[in-house]
């Protein structure tokens, strides 16, 4: 602290605590103490309060003791002379501030005032080239949102980030694609600067949370005016236009420790240190910093999140509560740079330095911005210049290994017409052939690298990529074209990214792009032949056919006791890593998170238990677990980090399991929605009868064979059944139960055990007559 900041923060905390007390007592008077309080779609109550105190605030009345605790944290402001120490007191005042802010938000939720409906006051929400994927799960989604906002004069901001989204981001947070988050509070010098700051953060894959205002004007206004796409998909989440909404990023931070760190409410110190050591977040204060902002920042500092301000404020440079400096001041106009845009760049660079954010960023030399934050962009038809594939289109992508002498590194060839010649909105054939040479390159890695084409191309601003192989679908925005983007840049991206991410196996990359219909069709047939060969090979790749499994401990940065063991017939629980990926990853980085585990010392073929796997687990789980079965969910199942696509859980009455998808927000027969189940299953725990897994594990031949396989599934989230229908039907066919999928209940016909049992009996589900699980 500095005395100036301590004084402001403590003063701010007194004011906000008083306001919260008034807000709460008024609410209790009007609505009664038993009125329920909840943030939507999170299993962690009011998460900041739950993290600090362990108190599960569920009613207005539950808030009263929290308010008392907040008040007990308030010290007097430091004296002018002969002052008493203030650092500990200021940080406590910061915690009191967070309690007060969360209580205010809780009451606003009760009153239907959250998520905030921001008056547009004449701001025209741009529906320009890129727009619309959005956020708050209960709100209008997609492009319709902007239109809806325009028509009702309000723009609905995001409430607390829901648990599903948090888990969806989990793997990106751990694998470094999303290296941290920035909580931006206030308003930038100009719209131009606001956009630049956000673009610079997006380019680095940093999640951006927007809060607060300066004299009524918020960076949210600035970005909307400039047509910047806000939403989960672009990593840019607007929370609220007042400082109180800054509680949401901190709730998010708390929940990341609860979700992935295996902590529970009340383990305040552990939760805060988890954030300091593992969640690379910082606060960027734009514009004047008032008392409440200082008070809130003091709360953020308890998480180890430093504060960087673009105004002149006292700096706090000694370290300790945060890893590097606590408070850094960079008055915007004093930053060196030829213009405001360069100053914005310097500011963002300093933020990253102060937090020690590890950025993994490939320099991709294309005329538009590049970064994983752009992966989620959606390009609407009227904003696109041209598309390739999709309905009626012809595309393919094919990556193959080639001899070194046949590959000229960095060469990109285009055969056929380029964007300049297309009619606006045209659908054009596209073939992409990538040739890779490398001493350590293997045929097996072709498909691993080929699957990355999607992420890689999608990272360009104003370029949308969906699908893979011969169902790829690409759109290029008019704006990107106007800034100079041409088809050869697809090749530039692939060249740069393959080198950056796979340097250990890739020595040379060349790319050929075809837009000539006949040529594309001709080469697509060649590629299809290869796809088919690969499919057969993958189908033959069984647990029995290999002598090595791979570990995945990537998530240990978040869940220190979690170890995934990945076999050919079981994809990692995040769905993102299969056996081949792990094998390639091991080649890339022999000391990395994917280590080979020789299949040695078979203990039980039926349960899939090996001595070598057990030993590996013991050594790499901090000696927490010593047994693991790969084929059973009832006996020593795989631990779970928190990134799982699905949770499987025993329903004893039904003698089978339910499988819940993380996209499913509805109730399940277990009496818990996904987010609550996830809280039980995650955090590196081993819970017999309960297991996190990838969705494609459902159709594996090694799907819980010990318990009887797919026949044990009695309930499944409807969205899983729909999105994987053909694969599931094929699997049912394979096990000789062709009608099974229709005998599996879902949320449409059973959300209680009673309903489930009635349904299963009516359809005669096989699990009912199978051997008892317990």
């Amino acid at each position: 602290m500095s005395k100036y900041i301590a004084t402001a923060a403590i003063r701010g905390s007194h004011a906000i605590v008083l306001e919260a007390e008034k807000t709460l007592s008024q609410a209790i008077k009007e609505l009664g103490p038993d009125t329920p309080v909840a943030f939507t779609n999170t299993a962690y109550f009011l998460p900041t309060i739950y993290g600090y105190t362990g108190t599960k605030v569920q009613t207005l009345g539950d808030m009263v003791p929290i308010m008392e605790k907040a008040r007990s944290f308030l010290a007097p402001v430091p004296a002018d002379r002969l002052w008493l120490p203030y650092l500990g007191e200021t940080l406590d005042a910061g915690v009191a501030t967070l309690f007060a802010e969360e209580i205010i938000m809780g009451v606003r939720f009760v009153r239907g005032e959250q998520p905030e409906r921001m008056p547009l006051n004449g701001i025209k929400v741009q529906t320009s080239e890129v727009s619309g994927a959005f956020t708050s799960p209960d709100e209008e989604v997609g492009a319709g949102r902007a239109a809806a906002a325009q028509s009702n004069g309000h723009y609905t901001l995001n409430g607390p980030i829901d648990d599903i989204q948090l888990r969806t981001w989990g793997i990106q947070l751990v694998d470094g694609r999303m290296p941290g988050f920035a909580a931006i509070v206030g308003c930038a010098k100009s719209n131009e600067v606001a956009v630049r700051i956000v673009r610079e953060l997006q380019r680095r894959g940093i999640l951006i949370f927007l809060c607060g205002n300066v004299n009524g004007r918020s960076i949210i206004h600035q970005l909307l005016e400039e047509g910047v796409q806000l939403g989960y998909d672009t990593y840019t989440v607007p929370f609220g236009t007042d400082t109180v909404s800054a509680i949401y990023p901190l709730g998010f931070a708390t929940r990341s420790a609860l979700t992935f760190g295996g902590m529970t409410g009340g383990q305040a110190r552990d939760i805060l240190l988890y954030n300091k050591n593992r969640v690379f977040a910082f606060v960027l204060a734009l514009g004047e910093v008032d008392d409440l902002k200082y008070a809130t920042a003091a709360g953020a500092i308890t998480y180890g999140f430093p504060v960087i301000a673009d105004t002149l404020i006292p700096q706090i440079l000694p370290t300790g509560i945060t890893t590097y400096e606590h408070v850094v001041s960079m008055p915007f106009d004093e930053i060196e740079g030829k213009d405001d845009l360069e100053r914005a760049d310097r500011l963002v660079e300093r933020c990253i330095e102060v937090r020690g954010v590890k950025i993994r960023m490939a320099q991709v030399d294309i005329p538009v911005a590049y970064g994983s934050a752009f992966e989620g962009e959606i390009i609407r038809r009227d904003a696109m210049l041209a598309e390739f594939g999709g309905k009626g289109g012809i595309t393919f992508e094919y990556l193959k290994m080639a001899d070194s002498e046949d590959v000229q590194d960095g060469r990109v060839e285009l055969e056929g017409p380029d964007l300049d010649t297309f009619k606006e909105g045209a659908n054009v054939p596209l073939g992409i052939v990538v040739e890779v040479a490398g001493r350590k390159m293997q045929k097996d890695f072709e498909s691993v690298l080929e699957r990355q084409i999607h992420h890689m191309i999608n990272g360009a601003e104003g370029v949308q990529h969906i699908g893979q192989r011969d169902i790829a679908w690409v759109r290029i925005a008019k704006g990107s074209y106007q800034r100079g983007f041409r088809l050869r840049h697809l090749g530039s991206i692939l060249h740069a990214k393959l080198h950056a991410d796979y340097s250990a196996i890739v020595d040379k990359v060349q790319v050929k792009i075809y837009t000539n219909k006949a040529k594309v069709e001709e080469l697509r047939e060649v590629a299809r032949g290869v796809y088919n060969e690969r499919n057969i090979k993958t189908a033959n790749l069984t647990d029995e056919s290999v002598d090595t499994f791979y570990s995945c401990t990537l998530c240990q940065s978040f869940a220190p006791s979690h170890v995934c063991i990945i076999n050919p017939e079981r994809v990692g629980l995040c769905g993102a890593y299969n056996w081949l990926d792990c094998k390639a990853s091991y080649e890339l980085n022999p000391t990395g998170p994917n280590q080979p585990i020789a299949k040695k010392g078979l203990i039980s073929a039926e349960k899939g238990e090996w001595e070598s796997a057990n030993q590996f687990l013991y050594q790499h789980s901090n000696s927490t677990f010593n047994r693991l079965t790969l084929y059973s969910v009832m006996d020593a199942p795989m631990t779970a980090c928190g990134c799982f696509e699905c949770i499987m859980m025993l329903i004893p009455e039904a003698n089978g399991f339910m499988v819940v998808s993380r996209e499913d927000t509805g109730m399940t027969p277990a009496g818990m929605a996904f987010s609550t189940l996830a809280g039980v299953a995650g955090g590196g725990q081993q819970s017999p009868g309960m297991m996190g897994h990838g969705k494609y594990y459902l159709v594996s031949k090694k799907f819980i064979p010990k318990e009887g396989g797919l026949k044990r599934v009695v309930w499944m989230s409807a969205n899983l059944k729909e999105s994987m229908e053909s694969e599931l039907r094929e699997a049912c066919q394979r096990i000789g139960e062709p009608g099974l999928i229709d005998k599996i209940a879902d949320g449409r016909n059973a959300t209680t055990v009673e309903q489930l049992m009635a349904f299963l009996e009516e359809v005669g589900h096989p699990a009912l007559t199978m051997e008892s699980l317990i």
Binding site: S2, P85, L87, G88, Q315, I316, G320
Partner: protein
């Protein structure tokens, strides 16, 4: 003023100088004048006098042409044996003082737990439960009184136990504990090691200086990791764990128009009750009925530190101020308990109306009023004492002489608060301090502790070191009479950060602390052990206390207790430097054993160095050497300093 006095002033404290001039003018004797009149015993000063049996006493004085190694006593004992024995006995005596203090506190806690001590309660339940946890006592779901009783009993058992280990040895860093066990240095029981020291050092037992000194290390630990640590913990449980508060120090805190009651000594038991009693409206009324405007309580020495840290009672000064306070003529009663209370008080008081009141069953002074305090009657005794002082107010002479000097201060940095201030309730730790040391913002840490000694200019060495340390970015912690010196001279205020080097200044401003931290009385040196341990455990500064870039200095030592403190810090791995002179200078062999020998054995050493400038050089060199050994960045005084409010000056004005 004579020419000679100007060359070697008796004190640098203006209040003391003023009172000494008055004493000289009036012909009052003081420790300062008596020290001048009586040269130190030339044989005893080097530790070379043996009085262990009546075949002597033997004086180890080499004859012409002899070296000290050629001299033996009647029994054949060498100078090294005798010097080691004398040192060991001083350490044992110091340990017995602090340990007895700890024992008394444990008895008060026991009485309080049993409800047998009116006026005493458990003021800090959190600390009680923490201490219970440290002692391996299950406290969950148990009532406070029951836990307190078991804690008291466990504490008392530490004194009488014959085998095993004293409880708090297990609080040291792991590496240190292993070393102690390997070297057989963990005390088995507090009393046992002290008694064994007396046995070993008597006529005809332990006659190997190295062996004697080895046991001396063990015996000293009964103080730091035994009695003192228990005294600190139990005082916190009974009277509250200190946290920062403001107060003042120096003779100027005495008030011309109020009843002045001065408490002096070391044990907070009675003085805590007196702080309660003076707030009683009935007694205040009584004082006013005698013509006083109120009752003013002030402290001297470590009793002062105890009530300063917990109650904000101002300090009238350090040890050498005890007579000077009386010479103001404004003190109605000086209440003493144990340790460092000079017999001369009675003589000084005889010039005035002042009553010297002894209160401990262990300590009487001929000519003083004795009002004995036991835990069960402490509050009544406190009231009686306050009444006695009030009754004496009308006897005060018409003219009093109270120097105007006093300084503001901030005191009360318990190790619990030190932890809290570096992160608050949820993030408190020693990480920021360790970080600051590792980055070179703080060069290292120095404990400046201990006594006053009229053989050297009062406060001069203490203050010179403190000034130089903070200028050189060394964070200073102070205890005992050193702490009061720092307070008197205005160094315990946060504004003092302006006198620091740039890096230390940044840290002070970040936390809001003075660069000199008052951590308590002399038993509270145990708090420094806890702090050092926490720094080690926080990580980044090595595995043991001996790895830390830290030093302990006692520039003006006089009491045996100081030697015990020095020795237990050495046993814990610290480099300790003492000013004034050496009690072991008679034997080069013992000097070698306590420096090179101990450093090899336990990583710490004890040096006596009368030259303050050399202490400064040696201590900074030690800090820098430890930094190098830890491979920390080289300290650079100009590297830091961009933090803080100064940047805003002129904008916010």
């Amino acid at each position: 003023m004579t020419q000679r006095k100007r060359q070697a002033p008796q004190s640098i404290d203006p209040a003391a100088i003023e009172m000494l001039e008055l004493a000289e003018a009036e012909g009052f004797s003081t420790a300062f004048s008596r020290a001048k009149a009586m040269a130190p015993c030339p044989i005893g000063v080097d530790g070379l006098c043996c009085r262990m049996c009546f075949m002597g006493p033997c004086r180890f004085v080499p004859k012409r042409g002899q070296s000290i190694e050629d001299v033996t006593g009647v029994c054949g004992a060498t100078a090294a044996t005798i010097v080691a024995r004398n040192f060991a006995r001083m350490v044992a005596a110091g340990a017995s003082a602090h340990s007895d203090h700890g024992r008394d506190m444990a008895f008060v806690l026991l009485a309080a737990a049993k409800g047998e001590a009116r006026g005493f309660s458990i003021r800090d339940e959190g600390k009680l439960r923490k201490v219970a946890h440290l002692m391996g006592i299950e406290d969950k779901g148990r009532p406070v009184a029951e836990v307190a009783q078991e804690v008291a009993e466990k504490a008392l058992s530490n004194f009488g136990q014959q085998t095993g280990e004293i409880t708090y040895a297990s609080r040291a860093p792991k590496r240190r504990q292993e070393l102690w066990r390997r070297l057989n240095l963990v005390p088995r029981g507090i009393d046992r090691e002290i008694v064994e020291t007396l046995h070993r050092t008597g006529m005809g037992t332990d006659q190997d200086p190295e062996h004697i000194l080895h046991h001396t290390l063990r015996a000293s630990m009964t103080d730091g990791w035994g009695g003192s640590m228990l005294a600190t913990d139990i005082s916190d449980i009974l009277f509250g764990t200190p946290k920062p508060r403001t107060s003042q120090a120096n003779l100027g805190v005495l008030k011309a128009d109020q009843v002045n009651l001065v408490i002096h000594g070391h044990d907070p038991t009675l003085s805590e009750q007196i702080t309660e009693a003076i707030r009683e409206p009935e007694l205040i009324q009584y004082a006013m009925s005698k013509g006083a405007k109120g009752i003013n309580l002030a402290g001297i020495c470590c009793t002062s530190n105890e009530v300063l840290m917990r109650q904000g009672v101002p300090s009238a000064g350090n040890m050498l101020h005890q007579e000077l306070a009386i010479l103001t003529g404004a003190v109605e009663a000086m209440v003493v308990d144990v340790q460092c209370t000079m017999e001369a008080l009675v003589g000084a008081a005889a010039h005035f109306h002042t009553k010297v009141i002894t209160t401990s069953p262990k300590a009487k002074i001929e000519g003083a009023t004795h009002i004995e305090m036991e835990p069960h009657n402490a509050y009544q005794v406190a009231r009686l004492i306050v009444r006695t002082a009030i009754d004496n107010y009308p006897n005060r002479p018409d003219s009093v002489h109270i120097p105007s000097q006093f300084s503001d201060l901030v005191a009360g940095f318990s190790h619990e608060y030190l932890r809290y201030m570096q992160g608050g309730t949820y993030r408190g730790s020693f990480r920021p301090l360790n970080d600051a040391i590792m980055s070179g913002r703080i060069r290292g840490a120095a404990g400046v502790v201990g006594c006053n000694n009229p053989r050297v200019t009062q406060d001069r060495g203490i203050m010179r070191l403190i000034q130089e340390y903070i200028k050189n970015d060394v964070l200073v912690v102070v205890t005992g009479c050193g702490a009061i010196a720092a307070g008197k001279h205005g160094y315990l205020v946060p504004e003092m950060m302006e006198q620091c080097g740039k890096g230390l200044r940044e840290v002070c401003e970040a936390v809001g602390i003075p660069p000199v931290l008052h951590v308590g009385s002399c038993v509270d040196n145990s708090r420094i052990l806890t702090v050092l341990t926490e720094m080690v455990e926080e990580g980044g500064l090595g595995d043991d206390i001996s790895d830390l870039p830290a030093v302990g200095i006692c520039p003006e030592w006089m009491n045996e207790k100081a030697l015990t403190i020095a020795t237990y810090f050495v046993a814990s791995g610290a480099y300790v430097l003492f000013g004034v002179g050496s009690p072991v200078s008679g034997s080069p062999k013992v000097v070698e054993l306590m420096t090179k020998g101990w450093e090899e054995l336990v990583g710490g050493k004890l040096e006596f160095e009368p030259d303050i400038d050399k202490i400064l050089q040696k201590s900074l060199a030690h800090i820098d050497a430890k930094r190098r050994a830890l491979k920390l960045v080289t300290y650079d005084p100009n590297q830091y300093g961009q933090s803080g409010d100064r940047r805003l000056a002129g904008i916010t004005a």
